[in-house]
Symmetry: D3
Subunit: 218 residues, 6 copies
């Protein structure tokens, strides 16, 4: 399956759905992340947030695309929609992850708005939380007990953000996973709001079909 | 996988999620429906709604349990929760379907309330609509193009309800599936609100594992 | 009574409230539609969406105004508000119809935002759904049993949109009317969210008064 | 037109929609109010709240029915629904007014729940606010500039409630009408939430038709 | 200031607002907790949940009242309201804490409903979350960095609930405080929804006045 | 304590929270208001709205800052956020008041959006209503019985707005305060929605501590 995750800045995708993307990777899905800006405004001491993001993508085992917009000024209209449209087309994505609709950061809101517009024909669009999200009421939970550690590792690649007093607090990230897990009746979870989720009740049988055919020919 | 669907009266489960249950049956899941009342108040000309429900369950290929409550007086407290608890335990259900929370029919509301309470430890609880549901905003869509016909067939077993001027209007049921389908970016769908959905990203791989092992040994 | 309906692109007004406008026309109200863009981005094979819209307006029996904005870039601020203000003033509208607030298409959202701002002094502002609307919870229902056929006819004027694989699916439009009808306790309906509805309890008596006076003097 | 308004206690209907009922009366509609309890718990110094309610009904020019339930214990299930069903049938009501769904007083909530259930086939169900209503977001406004005075007069019939320190504060009632009016873009209004409103776009023409016919034959 | 916290079962108040009550105690407020049932259904191996609750109340430094209702059957009507009314009157409470409105446990919902009804004249009513709460969107945050440890200590008094596999998971409680803290822009917080909060902008000056007078007379 | 109130146009802050700011002033807090535009579009007969605002600020006893944006075109992105950031930094504000999120006036919405973004680290952000606010559900109430008169006085400084037929209706402002008061269980109130409120339970004790120490040493 093809998966696309769209975030506003370096680290947003990892924060919101990093451990879930690692589950996709583990099951053999092809995952691409699209980062709308290079995060220039959050730069610290000349560290390159682009390099940090490239390193994190490598750790996650996902492809990386850049939106090329200016940090603080992500548009939510045709310019941004076109960029995401192209990423959907290039990857053949069936599932799209993006920011939640209610977020006090305007780049996050604009990214969410443009992504949902670009995903107009996709059956599954899930929206994740970041520290600036408001009124987030997740209903979809993904078990991340096995991938939370690697998510925290990928976040550490964003060194400029996790340094003392930086905006990313790994302890809070872990507490959040534990809290969302208790809501989802499991231990650690990432939670999502669904713009819509096409729930594929055929998958196990479908997945088995080719394998069985292969077995039969064995 | 074990699936439990809880409805207030004969025909409620078929109306709300009949075509989805047929998808579960088709992929080999074990499905049980629990009907809280025998629908005495909706009886027409001495037709037995229990017999109608039994026939519909046979058509769907699901097991049938009765809650034994009085039509119009389904409780939402410990008495009802215990009955549903027993059904969850007896079936080993991991997924529970029930009425939506906002519904003008009190038996529907009570069934929803007691079901969600009884499902306190289940990772997946989905809620369906009926004609008396209000403010329903589905986010989960199941493709029912292949099972809608059989759903309508099962509804026809509830003869007392689908006769001229009866409360179930098959034409409206089909229009609803078409409308929910267009919302879910497919042709025909049943839509659900999620109290919570534990989204199992491991399933395809897990399903394939034994098959591949078998193939390897072939 | 003067009625103004504001849509983003050719066909939006017909999709959202075409059958209701036909009810207004039938009762003698003067109806104007304002289309914010000429729908250039949705053009197919050189067909003119402007000509299509003019033909549809003629079929509906309504006046047509153009907003003159670029497809994909409808503003939601003073520029757009001024255009709608002028339409309100020129028509003397007391009732305004426009897009719902929650819609994944940005032109729809911008049109809704600007229309509600421009309607700041009107007692009645109703908002309609289109295929890209989200979280729509109608509370106002208009019986369209007698005008649904003519609505579908007007939509067929938008030939570029209803061709095979086009964005407008007439079958889905009819299913929606049937579904909204069942929610509104009638057969076919268009549903609306109300920003506000000034419910005129004086109208029948007021309408009859002059007639009766005339009769008496007859 | 036949109108039914259902309130939990003496004075609730007057508080919530008294001035609107006076508009109905003025246009020739037949109005009935159904009061579920006699308000025994709110009695002061042996004053009869039943007599007060009878006097208020006379002032309003409406018929009065009693539900016969115990103050503080209005049921929301079949017992209450049956009583309201009977009132709907006896009056032939097409429009039903009742309490809003969110109200901290349980008799109000139960009355709202049972009324909405009983109104399952009516096209128009409007819900009003009282001082214990929460999260009320009216979208329907009725102009009560001409009837607010008479509403306050009818409330004064409930002498036990408007005495100093009583629960009904006429000054607050008037402030509320002014505030709801400013929301509805008029001077004084009663505001309503709509469970659903069947908006009759045929009425003026229909109302005029017989009169014109009569005039023509004059 | 007088504070009343109402919970359904032993441990609910500690879970929901234990650390906040400790802040009240620390500033000299008189705090009473009212526990509606003795929690018989949650008993383990004959341990007395009443004794556990008494011990926890002692640790918190608060007074304890019992509602005397049966576990699983807390009423939400006049019987429960009367008990809470009496607690409000006896303590002179100006602030009331209780369960959130949306909770899958019916005793929690009933306690919330009855408490909000009983608090009809209080200016401040805050509602807390427990593990069975749904759709909780806190807006009021209390800094509990200094009292979280003592809250966990009080929860440990409920030995029957915190044993291995018990319903109270102290690790999850701490994670929740950390997560709510990050939402409230502090380190550790308890979050509340406000039915209403009368925000007293006079307090600092008022509080200082007598102290200064005393100082002057020193 | 340092308080910052941000409004779009001259008079918005007074309308929304003028009486509350007067409570802050009365208790010794330092209050600054930031007005994003000079309100050019609302000018009447050459009256200067800037002079009116300066006079109102003087009456309120607060400092005044100007945002310098064009009336009708307040941005909601980095340009506006920077201006508000500077005001937060310059005043050391711990509490920020601004417009509610749902408002039909785009300058109000933009001001709210930018203010909430700029307040990303503040523990308390409260949002007020104006006549164009929609769906406002206040939960925080401030008693303004003693300052409502002075608020109306400050509004009268905005002479161009309160003249006959002007947009500000002082009678409606007073009715609103009375209505919000009855919701908040007091006589006159301003109501607020809380983005978040850090409720400081330490203040009285903290305030008293130095005084007591001084007394002890007396």
């Amino acid at each position: 399956m093809q998966v696309l995750a769209v975030g506003a800045h370096p680290d947003d995708v990892e924060l919101g759905c990093g451990a879930t993307l690692l589950r996709h990777v583990a099951r053999g899905d092809a995952v691409t992340i699209l980062v709308m800006t290079a995060g220039q405004r959050g730069r610290v001491d000349g560290m390159s947030r682009q390099v940090e993001q490239e390193e994190a993508a490598t750790q996650l085992g996902v492809d990386l695309r850049w939106g090329g917009f200016r940090d603080g000024s992500v548009p939510d209209g045709p310019e941004a929609i076109t960029v995401i449209d192209e990423a959907v087309a290039a990857t053949g994505a069936e599932i799209l992850y993006t920011h939640a609709a209610h977020d006090t950061h305007q780049d996050h809101r604009a990214t969410a708005t443009a992504s949902v517009a670009a995903a107009r024909r996709l059956p599954t669009v899930l929206q994740f939380e970041t520290p600036s999200t408001q009124n987030f009421e997740p209903t979809i939970y993904v078990d991340v007990a096995e991938t939370l550690g690697a998510k925290l590792g990928a976040l550490r690649s964003h060194l400029s953000q996790v340094l003392r007093q930086g905006p990313v607090d790994l302890e809070a990230v872990e507490a959040q996973a534990r809290f969302r897990g208790s809501q989802g009746r499991i231990r650690y979870a990432e939670g999502f709001e669904a713009a819509r989720l096409g729930w594929d009740l055929a998958s196990p049988a479908a997945a088995m079909a080719p394998a069985l055919a292969f077995a039969t020919s064995g």
